[in-house]
Symmetry: C2
Subunit: 618 residues, 2 copies
Amino acid sequence: MAMPDELRDLLDGRWAALRRNSSELLGKLEPAHDLDREEYRAWVLEQLHALAEGGHPLTGFPAAYGGKDDVGGSVVAFEVLGYGDLSLMVKAGVQWGLFGGAVQALGTRAHHDEYLPAIMNLELPGCFAMTESGHGSDVQHLRTTATYDPASQEFVVHTPDVSARKDYIGNAARDGRMAVVFAQLVTAGESHGVHAVLVPIRDESGAPMPGVRIEDCGSKAGLNGVDNGRLTFDNVRVPRSALLDRYGSVSADGVYSSPIEGAGRRFFTMLGTLVRGRISVAGGAGSATKKALTIAIRYGLARRQFTRPDSDEEVVVLDYLAHQRRLLPALATSYALHFAQEELVSALHDVADDRGRRELESRAAGLKAVATWHATATIQTCREACGGAGYLSENLLAGLKADTDVFTTFEGDNTVLLQLVAKGLLTSYRDHVGDLDPWGMARFVADQFVGVVIERTAARAIIDRLVSGSSDALLDRGWQLRQFEDRERHVVEGLARRLRRATAENAFDVFNAAQDHVLHAARAHVDRVVLEAFVAAVDRCGDAATAGLLDQVCDLYALSTIEADRAWFLEHGRLTPARAKAVTQAVNDLCGGLRPHARRLVDAFGIPEGWLAAPIIT
Amino acid sequence: MAMPDELRDLLDGRWAALRRNSSELLGKLEPAHDLDREEYRAWVLEQLHALAEGGHPLTGFPAAYGGKDDVGGSVVAFEVLGYGDLSLMVKAGVQWGLFGGAVQALGTRAHHDEYLPAIMNLELPGCFAMTESGHGSDVQHLRTTATYDPASQEFVVHTPDVSARKDYIGNAARDGRMAVVFAQLVTAGESHGVHAVLVPIRDESGAPMPGVRIEDCGSKAGLNGVDNGRLTFDNVRVPRSALLDRYGSVSADGVYSSPIEGAGRRFFTMLGTLVRGRISVAGGAGSATKKALTIAIRYGLARRQFTRPDSDEEVVVLDYLAHQRRLLPALATSYALHFAQEELVSALHDVADDRGRRELESRAAGLKAVATWHATATIQTCREACGGAGYLSENLLAGLKADTDVFTTFEGDNTVLLQLVAKGLLTSYRDHVGDLDPWGMARFVADQFVGVVIERTAARAIIDRLVSGSSDALLDRGWQLRQFEDRERHVVEGLARRLRRATAENAFDVFNAAQDHVLHAARAHVDRVVLEAFVAAVDRCGDAATAGLLDQVCDLYALSTIEADRAWFLEHGRLTPARAKAVTQAVNDLCGGLRPHARRLVDAFGIPEGWLAAPIIT
């Protein structure tokens, strides 16, 4: 590993100290090898205890309970776990982020007092039971019920049929003792929408509680150290106090009240408080991607194949243009996403008002989708770039691929998430992003769309200056920024025109016919936000040589992104054919220019060397 | 499963009877569940014996030894195994295709007499030991040696250092008793290039032979039922008769002779006889992809999410345009590749002359690359299209992804293979496709390139007619064919112009700067060959309604392929912006048009229902 340097400092960013401490804690743990599923689960639980003892969970919890009240830091600490064992990272996320986070965000003082200490120190392992077999994306229509019985002052939690069974629930199959169960809250025959209720699922001995059926999801593609399971409730009774009642409560005699009107708005307000989960997944995906790139690039610098015609030496495979093309634009994108992630974490940490919160939800959805698809594609490429060696478990890429594969669909399916982003753009974040069916967007736009405003999300002044002073050179940052902004504006406006045709009768068809356009609009928006974050980071860099290197990385990100969508730029007269070909050539040239810096660029991620113990790079 | 129909008959094609018999044999086996690695390996060996007893290996071996002399059929039988357990498929391929195939193709009568019966009935499990830790793609420069010792009339097989260790060798870690070892043949201090020698690696009791070190590659991303291992030889002596001497032999007193001059040409002639392996991988990848599509499409037809605005019903997810977009163009491509695979298998079966053989090698390389990348991308998409359920092992997609992942790099790394294809195009197949370093291509072209000739590979008469009578309508097959041909011609000619600049001094740099162009040329060629095969298949279809349906599938393949590369068509003035947008719209429309036929299209693959036992579709 390179000595700490300017580049690493810039990447470490606002939470540098925490990042290094977390990294040190992770460095004390050691990877597991060749365990079967039950052994692996046991190992993960053991490591989770080590994290608890090492203080990992404190960051995100309230100071009143011994925590540090550092919301942003809690995401950064999770991100760092992504350099280690990903089952451990996910299990930590389930216990402290989802389960603990729900108790913290949706519960009130009494819940905090009673449960947070035991959640933090892992005495009370728990689950976040939202998804059902029949409802994953459309969680507003979950079908588990929590019906209030005023006679006993209890809620009766019930699974009406198998499609309402809680499914894929982490911590459920083996370790969880309690679950935050999301259910339709019913009082006096009236439903108030989805609320969260605390339900004990196992007793002290580990046996399921009466009325709770627990199944094991069994083997998965990856993350086999996490015990995902299924929960079915047969009229399980919990006291009235089990309702996490920050956004809706039920009096002893069964009267429902809430500070928020409307079941939909209320539920999406609750969901909004859980946005940290999506941001964490984006960060974890980023860490796994960096680790894969580190392995593939270090191997690409060591591996040789085919003798040069003009010498006896074999060619280092990263000297091949095709190999550079596979790895270096992906590396540039990882840099870009890293800085966008840090902006997002900062926004989460600092968010002040409702509109900011809605914008945050939208950006979290977008970055989660883009970062996890980037992870899936890049880790795949890294595996292939290491050939047969990349297929062996000992070289870590197989596990990285398998473990991260689910990121594109958990904590929100990426396709659905991008639709939420588009909705935010079209409605100027006037309401919670989840609060409409997809086609509701179409009708909303028909009524209310007033035009696209590109609001810069980072380093506004510097971006203004770059854009206004820009030439038409491909390597002019202002020109690149203009292309990203212009594409977003044009795609979103075109989408709005299409969706405006919607009426109450044809909303589904109008929406559905434009669905690829919807996804493209969201993607164009996220790309722009990511580029702006990169530009802001380069601007923060105090060291001229480092900034110069980062400028090239940023060029590669910007131009490879334009290249990937250059059909759009050609179709819309933004690039001439000659200029489009010049973009491709510029990407090739940038790959060659960055090739000598590849090792430094991956070393700056600062991945603990103990977690990079792949024989092909050691 | 649908009743056998016209569509299935067309897909079953020339080897229909064999395909159904193989399918029946496979249907008698049952999937394994949740075995650990050693149990899984044992299970696979057991099933391999069941295949041997069921007659599976007979197809490809000579009638003189009880076989059926049906080379094409042997590939089809392998393909069918791709619907079942992929470790079993690969292990069968190693034993009978690679090991048995090498003895058959590179050995002579005495080897056949001595070994083929025991190879066929699995008494003699064996390995194909070509790849070394240090040389995978560049197998011409393997460093294991087989040095002839005239005193004892033996070859001394030796591994000079760890990078010359045989690596990733299937059947080596547990079961193999003999290996075909590829090594530099040395007589009297002179090297004659790579030859194959039979080396016993284990005795009857299963213990390694003296001087042979066997290591286990351990866990892999997938295919954990195959025992891949590493072989190191410490001056291991084998008799003179152990040399597979069809293309090169050594007399008792150590004089080397060969019917082929030049170590390079000789080795690539040997490799050429092993082309069946690549064709088999393309076929196996095709089967796995069809299975993934069958699962994802059947799930997409059963799964509902989000209530329609105009009714109480939830929407079937395959009704969403975005979902159709993910699955249906991939399905169309699977159809196209199926027919291209059948053409290729027929060409293998019927190949008559040397030029035909070289063209076959090139097409095998190209189709292997395209089919395996299609598998990787499509199976990934299918997993994502099934959400969390797709991540569970029980739903089979996780295994399909993990098991097929290595296909893109084994039996030839895809990037290297596409370079061989390009070389074939530029040299008009004047020599064996592997017989130059990549940059040798550049110098060759500089000297000899005479222009591109598009030779139609299937159904020449019908394609001539379609092209000559074509309009400019997007759905006119002739127009589509012209686009594919025109792109290939233009890209290859442009490439030739660039490579012509090569001199002895700058060949590497000229080649390397054009490497992305090289890959694009190969891709354009393969796309054209695939489309032609599809057109020929539609033309063979006797039933008008079925042909009409296939015509739409073919449109979707052609237009989604053009759409994916529409930047090129725009850059080169082949599509106007308006027309490029019309291509996108046409793909959307075709997706909608094929949606009602999706189930029939996957049922026609005829996958044994017992191997589709995924809870999400049952």
